[in-house]
Each structure stands twice: as C-alpha cells, then as structure tokens.
Symmetry: C2
C-alpha cells in the first residue's frame, strides 16, 4: 500500500482552557466524552485506509511522548518533531520529504489531529474516492469540502462552479477567506460554496511539484538535507533549518495559487470543535440541555457545560448558559457566550 | 501555673464541603484566609494565658497527626483521642481526668477549636477575669456569653436577671434553647440575653463535683480507670470504655442543671463561622463584595465567595450571590442562599 497519512498535531490551543493548555493541547483531550482523544479518533478514522507504518504525525518535540501514548501502534520515528510552529506549509513539506525517502509514488492524505467526524463510514468512502481520483489525475491537489449547515463565519469557503448536479469531485473555482455574516448567508443559499475542512489529498509528485512552483525557497531549504530524511541525521538538520522556513499556510502558499485544485463536497458530520459553543452543539445533553462530563451532581442547571477531569467530583447548582471546567489545577466558571474572553482572562493568572 | 486549656477538636463538619471533609474537618482550615487554621488561632488566642504543657486537645485518633502539625508546640501525649464522638460531656470528662492525674488544683478553660475571635486582647481580658473569679468562688461553673448583635436563631441563649448595670460576672438565670425568630428578636431587645459561646471556665474540683452530682454514671465509668490516666494504659482504657459513655452535651448534662452557673457577657468579635453565609459576613471583600481566597481572576462577579485551595487557579465570571469552592479534588458551585442543601447534594456523589 502506498497510501500515507500525515496527521498535523502541533497545535497548542488555549481556547479550551483549562482543558487544553500548552502542556496538554486539544488534540490529546476527550472533550466530548467519547472515551477517545481527538488524535486517537483521527487515527482510527484513517486506519482502515492506511497501514500503521504509513502514518506520520507532525508535532512539537514536547508532545512526542503524548502522541505515542495515544497512538501506541506507531513507532517513535513516525512522530516528526518541529522545533517550532511554522504553520502548515513547512509542516507538510517536512512530512513529504520524509515520505519521499521511503516511497516515490505515495498517495498522501493530510489531516488536522483535532477535528470531529461523526459518520466514519461516509468519511472513509470520501477519502477512498479521493485516492481513486488521484489514480486518474496525479497532479490534482484536493481538499475535502464540507456542505455548510449554517452561515458560519469562522471557516474559509471553497467556491465551485454553479451546476445543476454536482459531480463527486469538483474543480475548485476559488478559495474564499472567512466571510462576514451576510456573505456567509449568501454562500449557504447559493449552494456552490463549501467549508474548507483542512483535509487534503494529493500524490507525492503532485504536492512536490506544487511546492517547487509556489514555494521554491522552501524546496531549496529542504533539498539541502534531502539525503538526511529517514536517517539519524534528520532531526538535527530539521532543528537547524526548519526555523528558517517561511511561516505560511498550505492554503495560502499553494492551494489558492494552483490551477489543479479539486474538492469533494462531503457530509460526514464534521466539526473542528473550535469553541466551547461548538463542543456544546456536538455533546450529548441531559434533559435540561446540560452537557456533563465527569463525576457531577447537577442541580437546577440549564444549557450549561460541566466538564470535570477524572479523579475530580463536582456539585454544581443554579446555572443557566454557563461553562464550568476543571482540569490540571485550573478552574473556569463563566457565561458560555463570553467564551471569546477566556484568552484575555487567563492573562490575569500569569 | 495551674491554668489548663481543653480544646475540643473532634468535629467533622461537612457544612463547608468541599473545604471540610471527614479527612480534613473545619478546625484545620484557614477558611477566612488569615494564614492560620481555626485550631491554630484558638491555640494562639489562649497561649498568653496557658503554658504550652497545659493544653490538651481532644480529638479523633484520625486527626492526631493533623493536630500536631498545626500545633507543633504540643507533645503527642497532649492530644487525647476519642475512639468515637460522644458529644461534649464525655470529651470534657476525659480531659478532666487526665488533668486530675497531674494537678489537683487546676483552673480549666474549655473551648471549641473552630470559632473566630477578632479582638484577642479583649478575649484574653475576659478569660483572665474568669480565672480571677474562680479564685473567689471555686465551685462556679462559668460560660462566656456573647452580647448578641442580631436575632440569631442558630445559637442557644443565656438569660441573666434584668438589672440596670450588669456586673462583669453575672449569675445565670436560665439557659434557653435555640429560639425562633420572634423569640430571638425579643431576647435581643430585652438586653439580658447572651449567646452561649461554648467556652467554659471552672476549677477541676468544681467541674468534678458537678459531674458527680449530675452525671454520676459517667463518673463511675471514668473512676474505673482513674489510675490509668496519664499512663501508658490510658488509651486502651479509653478505647474500651469511652463508647459506653452517655452521648450528652455539657450544657444539657451539667450547665443547665447546676445552681452555681455564671456568665461573663463579652464582646470580642466572636462567631462560630457555622455556615458559608457567616464566613461571607466575616471575610474581607473586594469592591464588588466578593470574598476571594486563592489565585483567582474574578470578572464581573458580585456578592460571591470564591475559595480555591493553594496550588489551584481559577477564572470565574458573571456570578451574583454564588459560592465557588474547590479543594481536594472536589468542586462546589451553587447559589449562596442554597447552602443548606449542600449535605443533600453531596449524597449524590456517593
């Protein structure tokens, strides 16, 4: 099997403080109480399509052991360590150079480590469809588009040509930055706009050519160490040179500039669970619309998230539209609709 | 010095859950954030009047080490261990038999371990006054009466004869059980009723005679082991016989039945801090009337207690008239005026 999966797991994410922190970012959490962390679920979602030895996880060195704890099927050398975050383009380039050292005709799927998918069967069907398309068109750069269910202003959109019946794989007309609310309403109404999920498919050749065309400096930089990938010298090369990469996303650096980009409009129950609010949307609720996780006695609460780490217990009474979260010696109690302020408030603890 | 102090520290107190628990009752807490636990403050309050070697703490065996941690000035044999709680009369009898083994003409002050006194100088003046009175009248049984500042229904009251000018030491006319609100209002208005603080003074002879008169069975029981107090055999005697003592308070068993009871009406900023509400009354508040303890960022809260153990941090936003407490892996968030329900709620965690 030449199918490879790159899991991007370098995020730090303070948005879910106190559940996520620098020392324990969101991808390692089981925020939804499914019994599995996001990164574990991500791995399991791809596992039927990708042999264990063909997974690569790109993360920070600080999280290497956490990754191996959550994914014991992987060997330590499958966890690639960035010395610092440089956005998705350098992250993906690093992983592709590693793949190149082993397999010249790889098909690659790239995925964030911290998203939710509720319909895994449909998900696997869509990804297989993408791999099949690459057999016909091996320079295609593909991204999975999500059929929008609401006028979300927090995501980028993918525009495809208006047509009566959409094919399963569609040429992208244009990538759209995060819209304002009115524009988002229009996008949803028109039917030919999709959320950009951050899941990509391409062949090794396809993405390498795209790097050469669009980010040639990055290629020059990685080519310096071409022979070191997959050897004992790789990490020291990366530690020396990775910081010099341009800090740029794969969307902005390559996808938006390439002529051969395609999308597969999909509907498999996707969310990036980027906010407590979206967690609330996706979590199981009790009869009073509370999302409870952990050993909690909930009395007279409504529309409230209570999320308590294992080994802790809580009695919570008399809240409506609140968020109560405790983990790792840190407690948060706040109005759910004020969650955007969390980053500001925690500055006060420093 | 023949002045002895008995500190009764056997309480378990779930009213301050999660701060107080079976394994860490209220007397060991620094709920008010003074930097000292209640038992430590109690010791320090009496320390100018009582030599270190004349303190006795009566507690449960489970708390012996905690007592010695909080009061390192005491030797282990100054901590008397009840095998089970039998209310205040057996507790005091035990300590008096121990004192009797060392000193026949002791003056004794008995105190709970978990009360608040804000004016220690006045407190020491009052206690000294009591010791002085015992020199004149060595059969007197004295209790400190607190000048009532509100129609409190949670305390017992001491009635003294109506008179234009109260002497410093007054003969008690009658002990009154906890009144209802109307009666409490009347007591406060009449001026000759005082809160029963649970602080007692007497000579060893005085209290021993009172035990003989009022609780002769208890005397018979303790007399069996008379020679064992202060020896290596004391604990095994107590372990065998203490459980057979009548479960009765010193107020009901002796004070209310004795003819020679006196009180010293006092005003030294006393509270038993029996509820979160009374804690709130006595705690320092910020500009928005919040009582904060610990590393807390408080945003847009009013009239709220936030009490977080050391080593923990919290962000709390948008609460009015709430209680947020975290200690020892347990979290409580509830309306402050619903605190009477805490005991019921925590049953749900079992």
């Amino acid at each position: 099997m030449n199918n490879y999966c790159i899991i991007m797991a370098g995020g730090i994410g303070s948005r879910f403080w106190p559940l996520s922190k620098d020392n324990y970012p969101k991808q390692f959490l089981d925020i939804l109480g499914t019994g599995k962390s996001f990164i574990r679920s991500t791995y399991e979602r791809f596992s039927p399509l990708i042999p264990d030895e063909n997974f690569l996880v790109v993360t920070n060195a600080a999280y290497k052991n956490l990754v191996l704890e959550h994914l014991p099927e992987l060997k330590p050398d499958q966890v690639l360590c960035e010395p610092a975050r440089r956005n998705t383009a350098p992250c993906i380039a690093y992983a592709c150079y590693r793949i190149q050292s082993r397999c010249k005709d790889a098909n690659i799927v790239v995925t964030p480590a911290d998203h939710l998918v509720t319909n895994e069967t449909e998900f696997q069907r869509i990804i297989s469809l993408g791999f099949d398309f690459l057999k016909k068109q091996d320079n295609a750069l593909m991204t999975i588009g999500i059929k929008p269910s609401r006028p979300e202003t927090g995501y980028g959109y993918i525009q495809v040509p208006k047509q009566n019946e959409l094919p399963e794989v569609v040429k992208v007309e244009m990538f759209k930055e995060k819209p304002n609310y009115e524009t988002a309403l229009k996008f949803v109404a028109e039917g030919n706009y999709f959320w950009n999920s951050g899941i990509f498919l391409w062949t090794l050749d396809g993405i390498m050519n795209a790097f050469k065309t669009n980010l040639p400096d990055m290629v020059t930089l990685f080519d310096e160490g071409k022979d070191k990938f997959g050897t004992a010298e790789e990490q020291s090369f990366i530690n020396q040179r990775f910081l010099d990469c341009q800090n740029i996303s794969i969307d902005y650096g390559i996808m938006e500039k390439s002529p051969d980009t395609y999308t597969i409009p999909a509907d498999f129950g996707w969310s990036d669970i980027g906010t407590w609010g979206s967690l609330f949307t996706h979590a199981q609720k009790d009869a009073d619309n509370n999302a409870l996780r952990g050993k909690v006695v909930s009395v007279d609460n409504k529309n409230t998230i209570i999320n308590i780490e294992d080994g802790t217990e809580a009695v919570v009474e008399g809240l409506d539209d609140y968020l109560v979260a405790y983990r790792d010696h840190s407690l948060l109690v706040c109005r759910l609709h004020d969650e955007q302020q969390i980053k500001v408030w925690i500055e006060g603890l420093k």
